[in-house]
Symmetry: C2
Subunit: 355 residues, 2 copies
């Protein structure tokens, strides 16, 4: 597709997949769904609709080397590093000025690097629909049909159909449970997965309207593109940018947003339990990887990354056991979302160096 | 006490405490109850009633060095090694001829090395009672008041009182559950803990009556004591001995056995769940040892023996997690008795070297 690009957002850091993920080894460079790393799967999912020359990735400077290694299928300069993380509005704005500089007619899809998608062909078909609308100047988002009244996602209120897409009546922030139940019962609300498609021109115009300070910084950055001043300028401008998401800062206020309803199955890979849900499993529902042995164990994820160490599970049901050379996690899957508590306890007990 | 000795039986091997115990590192040399190793706790429990010169230990040759290291409070020649394990009848017989050779009036208590005893003073008081009866020529056993209808122990049927002890009407082998319930309801049955007290003379006379082949071998061994022929003779005689326990081979058939009812709390340290039950615990019922961190975790045992590795537990209730440099076990406590299945699976999957 001419003038179509994709920008993978791989800026996160953190320990929600500790002990595999660490402060300096973020989840997107880990093979949490099995096989390739999340960021690489996100890129590969776009082929053959896009070619490597059409795919970019934005990440944090301290992770750029790791991400470049994972994305050796892209030209090295397609991994763009931000001096510091400033949330998605800044990342999207930077991508927009960069792509417009390379191709004034650039359109791009924004794809977070930590998603599960069951069927790349369906994703590509939905993105084609979105690109077609974006080519007309629209800001397009992809809505996910809710699997339940989740309070972990924002919602998109579906409006009238416009051709092969719908209008979005409104963006709704993460609701409480009662509200979420109402949304799901109505059938008119979809999850906001943070997947967007637009032209660089359109999103920059909207940023100009909604976040003029960011727009001003982006103009300064734009003037330095292709020059040796770029790193300095980026550092200066990022230092003054507020942290704000593209959803909250721009999309919720945009007057006209269109939505493609996803035909693919989707999940946010946000914790060990989500990662486990989408990995290949054996007949007992287990994912066993590395040197391990399981007896009378069901619905469990046992990962061992140290070939000189064996992990044995007996009688586990619905557990996560992750062993690395310097740290091991054991928890029931339904507690995996609370890993932050473990990280705090490790800090408190003086084990920061394992984080 | 004159002529009183103790013989600690530390012959076991195996993997019921894998991954801490290994084929070549048996449970008795491990600090499974916290603090000192099981064998050393068994010895220390006898002081000050006995002095080190009165305490002996019988173990297997391949474990003798480990056991001697654990028992550096005893003279080195007090750790007697059998060339091969031949169950308790042979071990008791060997101890008897050895002690009678050193002291013709020797009496000795037989104490397995893998028991929990809550109060050494009470154990010593009970042993004093038993030694007094043994001095009169009796074969004495110690009965444990059952905590429930266990099918894991043999039972002693209590007969009429004789002074400060009781007659044992009969030894009963490990019963089925219904039978065990009847035993416990009657109030007349106690657990056979395998703790005995007798004179060397009396038990050798009983072995002569019940196991004449063993008695014949013991006579050959006795003639070699104090000579350089001993190792060769022991190896030859042990090679032909059958495996038989002192309970089954001798005590069940003995015409007159007396019993002391234990005033101490007792348990067989036979699995991680038993070991865990008798270790010091924190307010949440946890035993956390080594580099570990636990969050929202109750009634669990988390052991880490590698100071360079941290084990984190989140949301566990009633679990065992044991981490060593080359192997980790995770299981619910109530499955810990099934560890043999794990060992088989490890063998099947080619991890024998961790056993």
């Amino acid at each position: 597709m001419d003038h179509a690009y994709a920008v993978v957002l791989a800026g996160g850091s953190g320990t929600r997949f500790w002990p595999l993920s660490r402060l300096r080894r973020p989840k997107q460079v880990l093979p949490l769904l099995g096989g390739a790393s999340l960021v690489r799967q996100t890129v590969e999912r776009l082929f053959p609709m896009l070619e490597p020359r059409q795919v970019f990735c934005i990440t944090a400077r301290e992770q750029a080397d790791l991400v470049r290694r994972e994305l050796d299928l892209l030209p090295p300069d397609h991994v763009i590093d931000e001096p510091v993380g400033r949330d998605t509005a800044a990342a999207v704005g930077l991508a927009a000025v960069f792509l417009r500089w390379r191709d004034p007619r650039a359109m791009f899809a924004v794809l977070p690097a930590d998603h599960f998608v069951d069927d790349p062909a369906r994703l590509q078909a939905d993105l084609r629909t979105a690109f077609a609308a974006a080519a007309e100047g629209a800001l397009v988002t992809v809505g996910i049909r809710p699997r339940g009244p989740s309070t972990a996602y924002g919602y998109l209120q579906r409006g009238p159909r416009e051709g092969s897409v719908h209008r979005v009546l409104r963006f709704r922030e993460k609701p409480d449970l009662e509200t979420a139940k109402g949304y799901v019962a109505s059938g008119d609300f979809l999850w906001n997965a943070g997947i967007f498609v637009w032209s660089a021109e359109s999103i920059l115009a909207e940023i100009e309207r909604r976040l003029p300070a960011l727009a001003a910084s982006l103009k300064v950055v734009e003037s330095a593109l292709g020059t040796s001043r770029l790193p300095t300028v980026l550092a200066e401008e990022y230092a003054r940018l507020p942290r704000i998401s593209i959803d909250y800062g721009v999309m919720e206020k945009a007057s006209r947003v269109l939505m493609v309803e996803a035909a693919f199955a989707w999940d946010d890979v946000g914790s060990w339990s989500a990662a486990s849900a989408h990995r290949p499993r054996d007949a007992a529902g287990n994912t066993l990887e590395g040197a391990c042995a399981a007896v009378d164990t069901r619905d469990s994820l046992v990962l061992s990354t140290d070939p000189k160490h064996v992990v044995a599970a007996l009688g586990l049901d619905g557990f996560v056991v992750v062993h690395t050379p310097d740290a091991t996690l054991v928890c029931p899957k339904n507690r995996a979302d609370e890993l932050k508590k473990v990280v705090e306890e490790l800090r408190r007990r003086g084990f920061e160096k394992t984080l």
